[in-house]
């Protein structure tokens, strides 16, 4: 136990001035995003990260120094993962009578989202490191990050992949729901949560609290199931 605490203290205590760079970049991005009426493609990460990258080039700061200087933010990702239990527990409590179809849709949907990505990676002949990094792309980012650390992928690639997945998910969802005539907002929420994680869930809450509740449920359970299944089965895809 003391080892775990010492290791985390080391991450926190390496925090220094690059944190200001992140906070400034994020403040600009957050302001722009809200100013734009929360346009999907102006997601705070889409604005903040290139801004910070160009600043780093100008002031000649390398990534390792920047990253460790943001220790406190990196450390907070752990508690943020645990924090997901809170909204999930509130939704589980009112788990409706549709338990069986919900479980089937969740299990098969989550499996399909991951499997289709892994097979496409193979089809396009991409490298194993890419496969390991994309495997958790439809899982909510803090859980996805811990999965990819576990199986040995590139965390920065995973972070971008989850962002793109979430954005793609909310852009195409409307058309899919229209084409398949799926009008029930509860099920729409579930699909958004399973396939587009937190970005999809935020979108679902814009439709209605009920839609958002189902998205939270889909995102949370899919995250747990993938985190259990993926480290056990990923070896099958690396030959």
């Amino acid at each position: 136990m003391s080892e775990i605490i010492a290791q985390q203290w080391q991450i926190i205590s390496s925090t220094s001035w690059p944190l200001l760079l992140t906070l400034a970049g994020f403040a600009i991005a957050w302001w722009t995003y809200n100013r734009s009426g929360r346009a999907s493609l102006l997601h705070p990460l889409m604005i903040a990260t290139p801004l910070i990258y160009f600043t780093m080039q100008i002031i000649d700061l390398d990534f390792a120094a920047y990253y460790s200087g943001n220790g406190i933010l990196n450390w907070l990702l752990g508690p943020a993962t645990v924090a997901l239990a809170v909204p999930l527990s509130q939704q589980l409590r009112q788990l409706p009578a549709m338990f069986k179809p919900l479980t089937v849709a969740l299990l098969l949907g989550g499996l399909f989202a991951t499997l289709s990505a892994l097979l496409l990676v193979k089809l396009f002949g991409l490298s194993d490191i890419v496969l390991l990094s994309l495997a958790a792309k439809s899982v909510t980012s803090p859980i996805a990050l811990s999965i990819v650390e576990q199986i040995g992928g590139l965390t920065s690639l995973l972070a971008v992949a989850t962002m793109i997945t979430g954005l793609a998910g909310i852009v195409v969802a409307k058309t899919i729901f229209h084409l398949t005539q799926l009008e029930d907002e509860r099920w729409q929420g579930l699909i958004l949560g399973v396939t587009a994680h937190a970005i999809g869930t935020a979108k679902a809450f814009e439709s209605s609290p009920r839609c958002g509740a189902f998205a939270t449920l889909g995102m949370g359970i899919n995250g747990i199931l993938t985190a259990i299944a993926l480290p056990l089965s990923i070896g099958l895809f690396i030959l």
Partner: protein, 117 residues
């Protein structure tokens, strides 16, 4: 502020329990995920911790994008080997998301129809 700090402390304790539990039991899952599952179990059995956690967890989740800024900035430094695969990576992400949504929508329509009968 006090609530925020106590909430964070509870989350951290569960994270440590999860990390310790995974190491102790030799489990093949991320430690903070076990922490989350433990907290989920505790919260479903007993609501008394919930008021202490609500503020911290909703603030952490609200600003989760901020926490992801450093690691996402790292994507600019991934190197030529990954950059060369970028168009295919984009295609994988977009196609698989689209297929998964379409698959889920059809599956749900089917499940609901069989449920009606």
């Amino acid at each position: 502020m006090k609530k925020l700090a106590i909430g964070l402390l509870i989350l951290v304790v569960f994270q440590w329990l999860g990390q310790w539990g995974v190491a102790f039991l030799g489990l093949n899952i991320p430690g903070q995920l076990l922490g989350m599952i433990l907290l989920l179990v505790v919260l479903s059995l007993n609501k008394s911790l919930l008021p202490w956690l609500e503020t911290t967890s909703s603030q952490l989740i609200r600003f989760i994008a901020l926490l992801f800024v450093p690691i996402t900035t790292g994507a600019f430094f991934l190197g030529p080997e990954i950059f060369a695969q970028l168009p295919q990576i984009l295609a994988v992400l977009i196609i698989s998301t689209l297929l998964a949504q379409w698959f889920m929508a059809l599956l749900i329509n089917r499940l609901r129809r069989s449920g009606d009968k």
